[in-house]
Symmetry: C2
Subunit: 342 residues, 2 copies
Amino acid sequence: MIKPRSRRGGGRPTIADVARKAGVGAITVSRALREPGRVSEDLRRQIESAVNELGYVPDPNARALASARAEVFGVLVPSLTNNVFAEVVRGIYDSLSDGPFRIQLGNTHYSGLEEERLLQVFGPQRPAALIVAGIDQTPASRKLLETAGCPVVQVMETGPDPVDMMVGFSHFEGGKAAAEHLIEAGYRRIGFIGARMDPRSQRRLAGYRAAMEAAGLFDARLTTTTPVPSSVTLGRELFRDALAKVPSLDGVFCNNDDIALGVLFECHRASIAVPKTIGIVGFNDLDMMEVAFPSVTSVRTYRYEIGRRAVAMALAAIEGNRPESRVVDLGFELKRRESTAR
Amino acid sequence: MIKPRSRRGGGRPTIADVARKAGVGAITVSRALREPGRVSEDLRRQIESAVNELGYVPDPNARALASARAEVFGVLVPSLTNNVFAEVVRGIYDSLSDGPFRIQLGNTHYSGLEEERLLQVFGPQRPAALIVAGIDQTPASRKLLETAGCPVVQVMETGPDPVDMMVGFSHFEGGKAAAEHLIEAGYRRIGFIGARMDPRSQRRLAGYRAAMEAAGLFDARLTTTTPVPSSVTLGRELFRDALAKVPSLDGVFCNNDDIALGVLFECHRASIAVPKTIGIVGFNDLDMMEVAFPSVTSVRTYRYEIGRRAVAMALAAIEGNRPESRVVDLGFELKRRESTAR
DNA sequence: GCAATAACTGGTAGCGCTACCATGACGTAG
DNA sequence: CTACGTCATGGTAGCGCTACCAGTTATTGC
């Protein structure tokens, strides 16, 4: 009698089937797949052809269970639709697509508690590495990261105290550079407009404030913010509010490009001359800022590259060679364009 | 002697630990967690407190292995940064976040081969459901989907021949409605501008063509497309090309809103009056289209809702009650705005 | 009051894979 | 020619969990 197909497994070939077909032990098949160098040329070829013939694909669940290590990268981002994080995620996917690693993506919705919950869920999966956005984890989350037993990369920001590794840039410096540029260009009543105001936005605001204070131009009424999620529509609303509050406004540093675009459109609609009457600076430098009319000055950030670098660092750490410097600052670049060319 | 901590497991509590602490059998703990109704009130409480005390979280890998069924939704989309798919994915995540299901996201990069590869990788994981974008799978992919042994939902489009279930809308009708609107508004030399030209774009183009032919206005030179990925910048370039080719152009239906935005900005830059000289229609109706100046007519699509509905249908199918109609058309809505208000 | 049924609970045997150790066949050095 | 390493291979014993079946105790019907 032939093996009566276990009631459970849906009939997929297992490592035992491959081993039988190739006339070797199961463990040798396992090795041939994971460490080809440790199996003789001969057997390797035999095994390879058996694998192809049967269409064998290893079961990642069984693998993870047996080796107490899943080939999974856990990735936590605060938003899936925010273009900025989407690009980071894309960088991560692109860097991981040709290796054995899968990606477990979690959406924290900008909530520390949700981040904690997700970390708790990721833990038992024994991920090979964790990539998390930001540096403002709750103490509980931080502990979970520290005891995760795998490389951890915090992305999008830099800070003095990495859990393990970091790739990003200084939002404070970015905000400062934006404000300084407006000041240099001759603007004086420069507003800050920001939505969502997550920790990264707060630091951009702090950078703006530092620059404004240094120039003796700071005025609390120039700042217009809201915790509401950012959008182009909201950019328009906030700009209207700001203008109502301070009619003498002659420049705005927008917390991100969506806001900046809303401001730009409102200027068109209200026939406010840009850059003559109002100067506009955005943040992140989305593709469209260069194409806009007038083109919009923005702080270019390297989101995709951050994703790629995070993976590279994690991969290196898995291999046992952690980079000598645990914090990588990819910087930013202020792109000067028409919207501030006075 | 105390249990000498297995060399492998990293010291996390297992179901056996919980069972011991609660003074019950392991299988009862398993049941209490999965089907609380089948365990007596008493034991359930005991088990619950043991779980909390130990901080026990079940190992999803072991679960998947033992039950031959992972609590994973496989999701395949062609792009991670395209706002449209990002919204679908967000709908999926939001609908799944409070259940036990994880999400395995795959990026096909608009490639049928890559889709096949990813499906092959997903298979051995035995996902609880699969959600894939589009209806143009390769024969091999289709077979993989049919034999996946789990509910399958094709999203973003509707068609006559679902693998299992479908949620989306007709891109052909969307394109047709857009073109008809321009014709009605009095435009005559209406161009089609499209990038990437994936199957969905092709169908929008076909809809445009049908409307134009019906009105006796079709002219092949009015169509400007490229396989290059879409962007606002590209919208500008293509519009310039289109105008060079057909100087009498008086309207454009853009394959998506990014392109439309590029066109709008170029009109500003070249001082072409919108909607007077040129009418513009976009596709998808991103948030910013309403805020733009002039606001841009666009075909509103319900991406987020598609994601949610796909999950709802898959979940229902898992429970055993497939919806009576396997294809759900969520439709679209043409949002008439200033850019075509002649 | 007794069999029949339902409602709980637990033991056993894997799921498919890999860590660990054992084995045997070769060199290679002394 | 023995002792000892090195290399290639395989056997065994789990990883943590759940399907399946077998008990055990209430509960019900007649």
